[in-house]
Symmetry: C2
Subunit: 432 residues, 2 copies
């Protein structure tokens, strides 16, 4: 899988409880919202008392803020969203961080690359405050400092956010090993899994094992384009044990436009974020088939699409529970579950390219379509479907997951796109 | 609530195990697909051996049919869907029954009305084989006999299907009382509930109580327009005790294009069918708001719509379980749950009219919009929201269900349409 760039950002919050929190939170949020960008963020721990200071400093309307209490959660960072404006360029790997109210240095690790004019990307960012390569024309906060040295950037951090394509995670963890200081909390926004013969290894688990730290996850229904116009988005934080840590993450990410809900189910939340992309490929196939047959009104395949989403959710839930019996049904009613499945199946690149694939009757390969439609970037759903297929095959679970296994077989041309609407698979699944 | 017409159909299957089943099944199906038409169908009991006879008679490709066994279920009625063609006119109260392979008389009770030219509707149907008033231009099966006498039509029946607007159910049950013979099974496709101060009374329960018979329900993601072009649709049968009875209904309704799944949860399935219309009104408000602000691309509110569906599902599940502790979480993953919520929130009249309401900023009333857009027909979602509001208010449950109660307050003009995107309600609901 060729990645045009990887982009890692590291944030160092000062220890002084000044008005630095919201700006960092917003910067953080902007990174979060890019989601699929390849980032690794690091922050000093959240100081709850900062919130109060900041709210006063910003002269916001009176708010009931109980410092340190649960009521801080979503309402605590209630500030005009105009403080932060960002846009994502066509390339979904891009990221903009533009914070107008950041007063402290933001150190951002950028995976170094040399631009066509011979300059280094980090130098350009530091000189122009713009990511000329991926988000030209958009000013980053003046206090954002691009840093090509991962180790240097992480050494003071005790909150880590991972937002990198999943195939880089192994290497990143190996580099970070031994470089992380004592009390560190991590959160992963990474979609995908490391699939080995014996089954998928979750990224949160990889981080925990390699770095010896606790790792939460954040997944959910949010699309960078939506946030760019300050539209509502939401996410789910999956945490393992400490509700306090979950609340810290929720507090850090929440804004009036970005609703974050904690759920004690790391694997359930993480598998939702990963598997939904396979469901989106299936939804794209359905849309492509329908369009091909020319008889439909624009909305006439809603029932079929809804059925695909329902079956996708069923297989997501069943597989998650087979792999991790601790996974809860209720997780699939959260943003990371039903809402993200709907969002990803209605929009998004997985659905869109899969639609084009089906429209071509499977005659154009995903490689070709990705080159044309995504400038060579690869679809998460296609690679996850492949890895999933291998794992299901290895465990003898193929028949239990007809949607998942059909998607891969269509992707590689072994089945025709219309195999996705094998209605037999739509009924009750006695194997599950 | 003004209803332009109610339309009740009664089917009498002959007791001879001839090739009458599939045609009746198809007729049955077509009625089912009209869903919101005001129908009451009655059938003699399903004879499983008929299926085999019929499949042979129709010269269908070889099929593995185990008569009387579970394998009959969805595959048993595998026949080309072209046997049945029907369309629904604009008026959703309309129904077409057109069966080309019906060899036995189909007696259909039609709520009598006099047409503008002075003729009775039943006479016109019997003379022209067309429902000139509601489905002009569409031929019904030649063996369909319209009958204005309810009692006459039901007297031989032992399977009843109710598909009438819910506010007529009380009267219909009273009329049928004492007219139903011994071993009778009923199924209700009726959306809505009889709301009394002490809480909602489910229609299935009303039927059971009034007629002293067992009543299943059928709900799910199906829109008449989709079926009209032979698109895939699905539904969920909610049954109370006997799996055998559930299987009979499933067998009766299933075709390759219509997937029916049984679930032992009458109240859960029925409440899904009823409450989803309120969620669709909320989804329409969101779409209307978005359109009003002119900044959105056509698909840019997907995240917000998905969030509304998620919260709607959460409130549907929570309310159902509060009212009936027997309701299962898994029901909401069935077609009647997540799939129907998606379908209804993406398409359908509740969403459409609510969108127009929000676009007008709430300045045009639902009465006015219904008159203009639905020729005076009323939206199920608006009346259900009102009844729901009263029930929630009576029980002191308002705060637990912010989406449900906000919808009603917007409908009656007490709140502005944008109150639907009160993001506080989108986070975790500590009351549930």
């Amino acid at each position: 899988m060729r990645i045009r760039s990887s982009f890692l950002a590291i944030f160092l919050l000062p220890s002084s409880p000044s008005h630095s929190l919201p700006s960092h939170s917003l910067t953080f949020l902007s990174i979060l919202l890019s989601l699929r960008s390849s980032l690794c963020l690091m922050l000093n721990p959240e100081k709850t008392q900062m919130v109060n200071v900041v709210i006063r400093n910003l002269g916001l309307p009176s708010l009931e803020v109980e410092v340190g209490g649960a009521s801080l959660l979503s309402s605590s960072l209630l500030m005009p969203s105009s403080f932060l404006r960002f846009m994502c360029a066509n390339d979904w790997m891009n990221l903009l961080i533009k914070t107008q109210y950041v007063s402290d240095e933001v150190r951002m690790w950028v995976f170094e690359e040399v631009l066509p004019n011979g300059e280094k990307l980090t130098d350009v960012i530091n000189k122009t405050n713009e990511n000329a390569n991926y988000l030209p024309g958009i000013k980053l906060g003046r206090n954002v400092v691009a840093d090509p040295e991962l180790e240097n950037a992480v050494k003071e951090a005790n909150m880590l956010v991972f937002v990198t394509p999943h195939q880089f995670m192994d290497g990143i963890c190996k580099k970070l090993k031994g470089k992380i200081k004592g009390e560190v909390e991590a959160i992963s926004l990474v979609k995908g899994m490391e699939v080995k013969k014996e089954g998928p290894c979750m990224i949160s688990n990889l981080i925990s094992k390699e770095l010896g730290i606790n790792c939460s996850v954040l997944m959910g229904a949010n699309i960078a384009n939506e946030i760019a116009v300050e539209k509502f988005s939401e996410a789910t934080v999956g945490y393992r044990e400490s509700r306090e840590i979950a609340d810290t993450w929720v507090q850090l990410f929440s804004t009036p436009y970005f609703m974050v809900t904690p759920v004690r189910d790391v694997e359930g939340v993480e598998l939702c974020g990963t598997l939904k992309n396979v469901v989106a490929i299936a939804a794209g196939f359905v849309d492509g088939l329908e369009m091909g047959n020319n008889t439909k009104a624009s909305s006439s395949n809603e029932v079929l699409s809804a059925a695909i989403m329902r079956i996708g959710l069923r297989e997501m839930k069943a597989l998650s529970k087979l792999l991790f019996p601790s996974v809860k049904d209720s997780t699939f009613f959260e943003s990371c579950g039903v809402a993200d499945v709907i969002t990803t199946c209605l929009g998004g690149r997985n659905r869109r390219v899969a639609e084009a694939f089906a429209q071509s009757g499977g005659k154009r390969s995903f490689d070709e379509l990705e080159a044309e439609m995504l400038e060579g970037q690869k679809l998460q759903g296609v690679s996850t479907a492949k890895e999933l297929y291998e794992a299901l095959n290895h465990r003898g679970w193929m028949e239990m997951f007809p949607l998942f296994s059909t998607v891969h077989q269509i992707c590689i041309g072994r089945l025709k796109p219309d195999a996705i609407v094998n209605y037999r698979n739509f009924g009750p699944n006695p194997k599950l």
